[in-house]
């Protein structure tokens, strides 16, 4: 490994391309931590937003109107406001009310910035996921649902065994789009000082004045991460393909 680090030092000395994140141990560690934080943020938001989408779509099919109205309101709120402003709103507005008093008399926020970012971005993407899954559910013919009813399935059983497996397949292309968008939007967490990749890059370029190099690194990593995710989703789409449902 040391040979690689040394090569980057040589690169800097001969060409001026300054990638401290390779040859400087301190920068290397903080950039890698930022990278891991980004991955953690993306993974948490992807998982939570899918759960929100599935539950929301289930509730939207409920016969209890107040629940449907509540989900509709949630979707309007999160879909019609920019994610950056949502992050500020949650972290600075809501976060300042949700605090705990410590024994030494200090007042600190109960929910840290990373958790706020996960909550906020998951609900942001989750709002779209509800609509995506709902469209998938509506694409399943009523007659298929009726056949399940005639076999004695409950509404929940139909959702789990018939509607969801079919709706999921129908929704996959749109879902992939939205989740890609979510992965990229996690960089907004920078604004509330979540030490993710862009945030640590900013620290690094402030110290080393190597903005163009770091911007390139960040972009290339995003291209790679999203590319990998799309590859996995395409494979999943292919693996779930069944004859005769036109996917």
């Amino acid at each position: 490994m040391q040979a690689v680090w040394n090569w980057f030092r040589w690169l800097h000395e001969t060409t001026g391309i300054n990638l401290t994140i390779f040859y400087d141990a301190f920068d290397r560690h903080r950039f890698f931590d930022g990278f891991l934080t980004s991955i953690e943020l993306m993974a948490s938001c992807l998982a939570l937003s899918i759960v929100i989408g599935l539950v929301g779509a289930w509730v939207q099919g409920s016969s209890f109107k107040p629940l449907r109205v509540a989900v509709g309101g949630y979707i309007q709120f999160f879909r019609n406001t920019p994610p950056l402003i949502q992050l500020y709103f949650f972290y600075f507005a809501l976060g300042s009310y949700i605090t705990v008093h410590l024994a030494n008399g200090q007042t600190v926020p109960l929910i840290n910035n990373f958790t706020w970012a996960v909550i906020c971005l998951s609900f942001y993407a989750g709002a779209f996921n509800v609509e995506i899954f709902r469209a998938g559910i509506e694409a399943v013919p009523d007659t298929t649902v009726e056949a399940a009813e005639a076999l004695g399935y409950s509404r929940f059983g139909i959702y789990i065994h018939v509607l969801l497996p079919l709706a999921f397949r129908i929704s996959l292309p749109a879902l992939t789009n939205n989740l890609v968008n979510l992965m990229k939007t996690t960089s907004n967490a920078y604004a509330i000082a979540v030490p993710e990749m862009l945030y640590v890059s900013n620290q690094i370029w402030s110290d080393n004045l190597n903005v163009p190099e770091m911007m390139n690194v960040v972009l290339i990593i995003y291209v790679g991460l999203v590319g990998l995710f799309v590859f996995v989703m395409t494979r999943l789409e292919r693996a779930l393909r069944v004859p005769g449902i036109g996917l």
Partner: protein, 248 residues
């Protein structure tokens, strides 16, 4: 009054059903005894399909009574699962679950709804596929089967629940003429084994062969009924005669 097996399996009395302002069923009454096969015929829009869907509570009725083995279907406290275990239904468009193979389609409800043992259910699914002459198609998806094959899987799927009565809703109407026969043969075998069947059909030749009793419905009422030998030869009502002359 408790139901005993010597009473009719299904007792339909004065059933009324409207969709909005349109009254689709205007007082239908008839009984179906155990092992009886009845065919319901009549022009499109005469309420035949609606009647079938009322029997297994897919559609609630407005007035009247439908008793299945003594259980009132027109009852807000109805245990739909208990009813649907007794009543199997096969649809015009097969309505198989496209994401599951033929065998899985047959196994799903016994596993998920009745929570039966997997090995037992699997063995039964194989027997049923054999019975509907689809051995070797266990792992085919519905999209890989012809209409007639799909419909036979759908019949096997209903039979897997061990129903006491089978409802067939124009099950050959969407099929090619060549594949109609294979489905009808399957239904006839079931009837011969003593399965109670209510068959809505436009296949007059089949109805004549398989039915013990034929009901002709038009505009929500039973116009005429009788055993096939009488019904086809000595229809009295002008509406029945006109319908038969158009179709035969």
């Amino acid at each position: 009054m408790a139901w005993t097996p010597d009473q009719p399996l299904i007792q339909i009395k004065d059933v009324h059903k409207s969709f909005g302002a349109v009254e689709v069923l205007k007082g239908i009454s008839f009984d179906v005894a155990k092992s009886e096969v009845i065919c319901v015929i009549g022009p499109s829009g005469s309420g035949k399909s609606t009647l079938l869907r009322c029997i297994n509570a897919l559609v609630p009725i407005d007035r009247g009574s439908i008793m299945v083995e003594g259980q009132e279907v027109h009852d807000p406290k109805l245990d739909k699962l208990a009813l649907r275990r007794k009543v199997g239904m096969v649809f015009q468009q097969y309505n198989l679950f496209p994401h599951r193979t033929a065998q899985q389609n047959i196994m799903m409800a016994p596993l998920h709804v009745l929570k039966q043992d997997r090995h037992e259910v699997e063995a039964r699914a194989r027997r049923l596929l054999k019975k509907v002459r689809l051995e070797g198609k266990e792992n085919a998806y519905p999209g890989e089967l012809s209409g007639g094959q799909q419909q036979r899987v759908a019949i096997a799927r209903s039979l897997a629940m061990n129903p006491d009565v089978m409802l067939f809703d124009e099950v050959t109407a969407a099929l090619d003429p060549e594949t109609v026969k294979e489905v009808l043969v399957t239904i006839r075998e079931l009837a011969e084994e003593g399965m109670t069947c209510i068959i809505v059909t436009h296949e007059m030749g089949f109805a004549r062969e398989v039915a013990g009793h034929i009901y002709f419905t038009d505009r929500g009422v039973i116009v005429e009924h009788g055993p096939p030998a009488e019904f086809f030869v000595k229809a009295r009502d002008p509406r029945t005669r006109q319908f038969l002359s158009q179709i035969l």
